[in-house]
Amino acid sequence: MKRTLAVSNVHKSFGGVRAVRGVSLALEEGHVLGLIGPNGSGKTTLLNLIAGVAKPSKGEITLDGRRIDGLAPHRIVAAGIAKTHQIPRPFLSMTGRENVAVAALYGSNKTRDLPEAMETAGRVLGLVGLAGKEDVASSNLTVQQRKRLEFARVLATGARILLLDEIFAGLSPDELRDAVALFARLQGELGFGALVVEHVMRAVLTVSQHVVVMEEGSKIAEGTPQEVVQNPAVIEAYLGPEAGRAPP
């Protein structure tokens, strides 16, 4: 059965700041949903609400119809949803393989067998293009490699819905091209669902079938990548009111 994540009318306030104001979206396993918007529009907060890092002030989040909002992060992972960090957070005292093994040992697909977890970790590192880096201390990895390690960790949890926070940011043009190709290939092979928060427009429009646009905590547009980039509200949000009104 395909897993379905549904966010309905979710709000989050931090004191007086209303970071997320009634956002709804749905994502089915096997699909990629892009989530874009200017800085501070609430994208990362929304991912944190889904991942259980923070609790919504109002609204519901369900997985296959079951409420998951307010569950602790490890329970969300157990349910089959895992999130990467915007700034990679490898366990610096561990090697690449050990980092991924933790996810294999504690994720939704958990094995209690150490050698098996190590094997899984090695295989997943190979998938994300980190073969040969298994036994390197993660503190010695480059930013690009750390991003891949972060991705390997969520894959190794066995999650079927991935929440990917700016996995394409901060890469050189060549690295970006490779990363997008790798992501598209793995998504096709493994068939996970992904909610991709991204600033790099070219990347997110390439990998997503559907895109949601947020501004100041609210959803302002939604549709296919082509529809979204032509939407006046979106152009206005990114480039200012003049750009939104004047047709090219």
């Binding site: 890092v53 957070r89 490898p90 366990f91 561990m94 040992l105 994720g107 150490l114």
Partner: protein, 314 residues
């Protein structure tokens, strides 16, 4: 499942077990002076392994661990003095009360991180002191004097068993799935949660184990001392000695607490005879020097600079 054989246990565990085995074999023939020294060394080692479970493995610095040692001592004193139990049953009582207390305290204080946890843990020890002062059943400010026999062999084997179990549990935790979860918490607790590690539960289990064994070691310490007095029992010095032992030996390692106990206990006994009153000043200086220059302790430093030892000590 991997087959358990002597080879898979690793040289460190085998070495510690051999050391303990030799001590057990010759304890009965040791001169009393030496036996007393060994008993105290084992008590210190048991305390070091106990704080290693929480502070060594997770990085949560417990500044109030003396609380659990004292509760173990009071459990023993109440069991033996008031309930007229055998001292070993008294040790067990103290250990279990310590375990329960650690569960209760840990459920609250482990929510704090870094220096806040350290302060909270010290506050619990202070609170324990002031509570005991008011409880007449525990002797209030007068303490409890016990009328127990002089039984060095019984002390020895009791603390020996406690220490052996601690070493076994440390090995078991650090070599399995739990070890990976714990290391991930120590490295980055929030990131650990996002890959599915139930950090709160894991920390609480470790804190409870830590409390259990600090209590057990405390019970033997005050059994040997034939009584307990609140001013001594809740002294910050004990908390600091426990921390000093694992800092010196190597936090979170299997061998470190034993090395640390030997270093701290033997030097405190040595300096006690030459520089009366200054022994802890010297240990304090030693801790500062090690924390500054060898932050991974004896074991971590040996592993770092002597590659040949990497497969041997852990």
């Amino acid at each position: 499942m991997r087959r358990l054989s002597l080879r898979t246990l690793g040289p460190t565990l085998l070495g510690i077990l051999a050391f303990l085995g030799v001590l057990a074999a010759i304890a009965g023939r040791m001169p009393l002076v030496l036996l007393t020294l060994v008993i105290n060394l084992l008590i210190f080692a048991a305390l070091a392994y106990s704080i290693n479970f929480i502070t060594g493995l997770t990085g949560y610095v417990s500044f109030g661990h003396v609380l659990f040692m004292a509760v173990g001592g009071y459990g023993l004193a109440y069991g033996v003095g008031t309930l007229h139990w055998h001292p070993v049953a008294g040790v067990a009582l103290g250990a279990l009360v310590s375990l329960a207390l650690a569960l209760g305290i840990g459920a609250v204080t482990l929510r704090f991180r870094g220096v806040y946890f350290a302060i909270a843990s010290q506050v619990t020890a202070l609170a324990g002191f002031y509570i005991v002062l008011e409880v007449q059943e525990l002797g209030g400010g007068q303490g409890i004097v016990l009328n127990v026999g002089f039984e060095p062999i019984a002390w020895f084997y009791t603390i020996w068993v406690i220490l052996a179990i601690e070493v076994g549990i440390t090995y078991w935790i650090t070599h399995g799935r739990l070890g990976y979860g714990i290391r991930s918490i120590r490295a980055d607790e929030d990131a650990a949660k996002t890959v599915g590690v139930h950090a709160a539960a894991l920390k609480l289990v470790l804190f409870a184990i830590s409390g259990l064994f600090a209590g057990a070691a405390g019970g033997v310490y005050y059994w040997q001392g034939s009584g307990i007095f609140p001013n001594e029992a809740f002294s910050l010095t004990f908390s600091l000695i426990m921390l000093a032992m694992i800092v010196i030996g190597g936090m979170g390692t299997l061998l470190g607490p034993l090395f640390g106990a030997v270093a701290v206990y033997l030097s405190s006994q040595y300096f006690l005879t030459v520089l009366i009153g200054f022994e802890f000043v010297i240990i304090g200086v030693l801790v500062v020097v090690i924390a500054l220059f060898l932050p991974e302790g004896i074991v971590g430093t040996l592993r770092k600079y002597v590659p040949e030892l990497r497969g041997l000590i852990e």
